[in-house]
Symmetry: C2
Subunit: 343 residues, 2 copies
């Protein structure tokens, strides 16, 4: 039976993760879940972000379910670099998977795009690029200060995530992969991405391909999101594009993500794209759909495609039945989803 | 009298620049304009991108009006790095100014946002960051290949563009500046930007401030673009955010930009955000509004605030009179705009 580690985290994290576990237990009874106390609260209490012993324990699980970590009182970077990115890098989660659908029942912000018309997935590289942490500062707080950030890209890292994107596209109906980069300015990294993309594309004659600059892709996600099927891109571009994709499909309240180590050598991690939302924490009004959809990605990754499909269908039922603007209660949504999933 | 250099460029560049010049001549008779043949066509013909002698001549002008350069047959980076970015860097155009308004008469893609409700300007840094060209490749075309891109940020470069943003905000009604960065991941550059921002903000107690991560800003530009007044950000983030801002305000057909050296030590450059659009080139159907609005920014920069205001008002009249979806003719739009501007 699957052994998962649960990091509920801060703010609305515990509320939404609670519903995701409810749904997981419903579709796959007997999952063994261990809770880990990590995030802003622990940092405030103990000064610890991610002790090595905890990292080792997490490594022994099949997957990690994460709610949200952070709050405005923690200095920027402490939890992001010390916890979230540390896990992504330590567990070699090089596929950061972010599907976006405009679900029937959801009103998106775009006048011309109707439910059902957007169904894309961004395959964001998760272990390289500007997220490598390769930067520095000289002459801090003087007029001569200089600060650098370096984007590191390896053939190894770029090629494997592109391969994953093509494999996913091959299993989808439209079979199309869009590479997004900024090859006209970032000529070194851009060339590496383009050449690796061309090589992998040549091995997949059944998959259609296109290339777009990141600025153009950001624009087309707003003017014509339906054109995308699978998008593969680097770590930072993927961060930005997936928030746009979330926005045009009804907001980050619905956006799921997986940080995946496809080979299963390390645990993959699943988390809603949204943050800890301290403003609504504890009120029981957070939408658990993103966390529940993240749990569906978890099930899929662990080989329970059937259970994953049931959870996804439950979400579809829930969203189709919503009245736009009507208030929701986190617990009630979780109960309904668990019910639909086993019906 | 103003001496301007005109780089009409490729594709629709000459068509739209023709209208911008028509309007300039109407509101400020006697402008001395010299044409420079640069872009894809020249590169194909001669292999030259931007000869030093031409750069020297351009430096002798008060401003540069640029249409669009490039076409798909030129390898990525050749014209971007060799011409556009070379000019921005050589002429120290550190303020890349990109206003976005949802004009009355224009139907944007967002169902909930009405004309008049968006009026923001992005002050994008233009001479640093990932655009510095500091990157490299090792072991090209082998499994060991690594490619880097470095973001270089100086206190000098960051502080001056932030100062410009605050000065602009001080002249606007809402007096608000939003800093956009990714301080939680790019901790070195992010810290430099944050500290410089805090210092300049302290000197402007009359200007409201906020900070957003770039992914959140990309999302809010879609869900609530009205919240922005002046946005200041780095070179790459500005590239992406301004295309989103253009998309939500009716498309890059309307988006103007200025690459400005505020001290006037070097010529500033004004260009529509759109590219050369080879697919519609020569058909006389390109919308010249972005080029004409860029000419208005040029007038403003050269101290002709009055003429600039007349051009902007002419655009407002033109757009208010358009029927959504009706075809337009580049020449006719230019004639109308020139007429409105002198009426
Ligand atoms: C919190 C932050 C480190 C993270 C990222 O930038 O990847 C978040 O924005 C995300 O998209 O998961
Ligand atoms: C063509 C390219 C170099 C340029 C940029 O990235 O700055 C363009 O996208 C822009 O926004 O002006």
């Amino acid at each position: 039976m699957a052994r998962i580690a649960v990091v509920a985290g801060d703010g609305i994290g515990p509320e939404v993760v609670g519903q995701a576990r409810k749904v997981l237990d419903a579709v796959l009874p007997g999952i063994e879940a261990t809770e880990y106390d990590l995030g802003a609260a622990r940092w405030h209490r103990t000064g610890e972000v991610l002790p090595d012993a905890v990292l080792d324990e997490l490594a022994g699980h099949d997957a990690i379910l994460l709610g949200a970590v952070g709050d405005p009182t923690v200095p920027p970077g402490v939890l992001e670099r010390g916890l979230l990115l540390k896990l992504r890098f330590a567990f070699d989660q090089y596929v950061n998977l972010r599907p976006s659908r405009l679900w029937p029942g959801v009103t998106g912000p775009l006048a011309a795009v109707k439910p059902g018309e957007v169904d894309l997935v961004v395959v964001r590289e998760g272990t390289e690029g500007l997220y490598a942490g390769a930067g520095g500062t000289l002459h801090r707080d003087t007029p001569a200060e200089v600060a650098t950030e370096e984007s590191l890209n390896t053939r190894h890292g770029v090629e494997r995530v592109i391969r994953d994107a093509f494999a996913r596209a091959g299993r989808r109906e439209r079979r199309k992969v869009t590479l997004v980069h900024k090859t006209n300015v970032l000529t070194h990294a851009g060339s590496l991405w383009s050449r690796a993309f061309a090589q992998v594309a040549a091995e997949h004659p059944d998959v259609a391909t296109e290339y777009q600059h990141v600025d153009a892709a950001a624009m087309f996600l707003v003017t014509n999101p339906s054109r995308y099927d699978v998008v593969v891109t680097d770590n930072l571009f993927g961060d930005i594009l997936t928030d746009i994709a979330a926005a045009v499909t009804g907001g980050i309240g619905l956006a799921a993500s997986g940080c995946i180590n496809p080979e299963g050598r390390y645990p993959s991690m699943f988390e809603p794209v949204h943050g800890s939302a301290p403003d609504i924490a504890g009120k029981g009004v957070a939408d658990p759909v993103a966390a529940v959809l993240s749990a569906a990605l978890l099930l899929d990754q662990l080989g329970h495609a059937d259970a994953a499909a049931r959870v996804t269908a439950a979400v579809a039922t829930e969203l189709a039945g919503r009245t736009p603007g009507a208030p929701l209660r986190t617990e009630e949504v979780g109960d309904r989803l668990a019910g639909y999933a086993v019906a």
